[in-house]
Amino acid sequence: MDGYYHSSDLPNFADIGKGNRELWEKFQSYYAAVFAEGALTEREKALIALGVAHAVQCPYCIDAYTQSCLEKGSNIEEMTEAVHVACAIRGGASLVHGLQMRNVAEKLSM
């Protein structure tokens, strides 16, 4: 799987539309609306996107939203904290399932 992801692929994201233009256009329109300034600023949304990019471990999203965060005026300290939020939620999500483990173990054990 060496070289599975390529930075040069990202600008061709719109090629997905060749398989179904209508769905791609709906996605694009929705995406643009989501990231527009609203109750949250564009800068705040980019920081959330950066955290989510790390949670879903999407290399394209990490590249795109690292650049986007810098271009919205965020700094490396803020971006690092966003990644830690993703890490804490992912780690916490594993750990909290320890309760399921405990429930099952409790039921099975004498």
Binding site: T41, R43, Q67, L70, E71, K72, G73, N75, E77
Partner: protein
């Protein structure tokens, strides 16, 4: 790679050394910079094609409202992004004779704004004379200040001089934190800049109603575009006031041009192609229509005339029959002149645009 044998001056750990010129780096030569800029990455269309598609080629001046004098390359700093390749080792500065020619030319016109830049323009012994003369002609005067110059022992009275002559100060401060500012401008520069800003604030600079304008300039600390001016201004105002008690009027966002020391950084870090693509993909016809060269005349330290300070650093003089030296200044010919453009101009047309007075679109 455009120049595989070139040793970059930029270094992550020590980027505050000598100028490119003092290092005898090929990038100190305008011709070498233009050669590299002519090698556009595959997806990048030449600037002229992009302008033609936007109905803006050839590009003409629309008048002259800014008389921008670059009084030379001498500076007390050696910033990593400097498009002038300025520094303490540079000796090219405007003489009194050339300064007099500037004032004589200015007096023939009604150009309202005189914008003095460098280097650190205040280090030119003729700086204060130029300010006094331009103010005497009733023109608005801008000093493009690096802030730390205000703390030099020999310049202890500079802030007071600027205030007395109601000079607008446009000062470089790339970020509201030390780590980013120092990475671009040198170790300890942020702390000194804050001290200088407090000095200006104490004189009334930056306070509403004082008549003393203090505007700051944000440059990205790296190979990316600036944020929206109004958004980052809110952050700057909040952070500088809360943490440092500093106030200012407006923040201008300026894009780093892919020339000189910033070009050196781009090449040294493998960011050149990506940055050019970023600029081109962000080409904005509205910004292109309002580029500052259309209303500016730029004068070099030796009196040569240019369409802008960036063309000046690339040795691209006014052309197409327009006067090329301050001694031949003719506002009628210059105000409708055709402007010389090349691929570095993508820096002014990206995103919200970039002028010496910030974004425009």
């Amino acid at each position: 790679m455009p120049h595989p044998n070139r040793e970059p001056v930029w270094s992550k750990t020590d980027n505050m050394g000598l100028s490119l010129k003092a290092n005898a780096n090929p990038l100190s030569l305008a011709a070498e910079q233009l050669r590299i800029l002519s090698i556009v990455p595959t997806p990048v269309a030449p600037f002229e094609d992009k302008m033609a598609a936007a109905g803006l080629y050839p590009l003409d001046a629309t008048g002259i409202t800014v008389f921008q004098i670059n009084v030379g390359k001498l500076c007390n700093q050696t910033c990593a992004h400097c498009h002038v390749d300025a520094g303490p080792d540079r000796r090219e500065i405007m003489t009194r004779e050339t300064a007099e020619l500037c004032i004589r030319a200015l007096a023939q016109t009604r150009i309202p704004t005189v914008d003095i830049t460098g280097g650190a323009p205040e280090l030119n012994p003729n700086f204060r004379w130029l300010v006094e003369q331009a103010r005497g002609l009733g023109r608005h005067v801008i000093d493009r200040c690096n802030l730390t110059v205000l703390l030099l022992a020999a310049q202890a009275d500079l802030a007071g001089f600027l205030a007395n002559h109601q000079v607008e100060v446009i000062a470089s401060l790339p970020y509201f934190r030390a780590s980013q500012t120092d990475a671009q401008r040198g170790e300890g520069v942020f702390e000194k800049s804050i001290a200088a800003l407090r000095k200006l604030n104490a004189l009334g600079y930056g306070s509403e109603g004082s008549g003393l304008l203090l505007n700051l300039v944000y440059n990205p600390v790296g190979a990316f575009l600036p944020p929206k001016q109004e958004s980052i201004e809110v952050q700057f105002k909040r952070e500088l006031e809360r943490k440092h008690g500093v106030v200012f009027n407006h923040l201008y966002t300026i894009t780093n041009m892919p020339i000189s020391r910033f070009l050196d950084f781009l090449l040294a870090t493998g960011n050149y192609e990506g940055y050019m693509e970023r600029l081109v993909n962000a080409f904005n016809p509205a910004a292109a229509a309002s580029v500052m060269c259309r209303y500016t005349i730029s004068i070099g330290w030796d009196g040569a005339l240019f369409d802008c300070d960036f063309n000046q650093m690339l040795d691209l003089p006014t052309g197409f029959g327009a006067p090329q030296h301050i001694r031949d200044f003719d506002v009628t010919k210059l105000q409708s002149r055709r402007i010389f453009t090349a691929n570095h101009c993508y820096g002014c047309t990206a995103g919200s645009g970039s002028t010496c007075s910030g974004s425009i679109a």
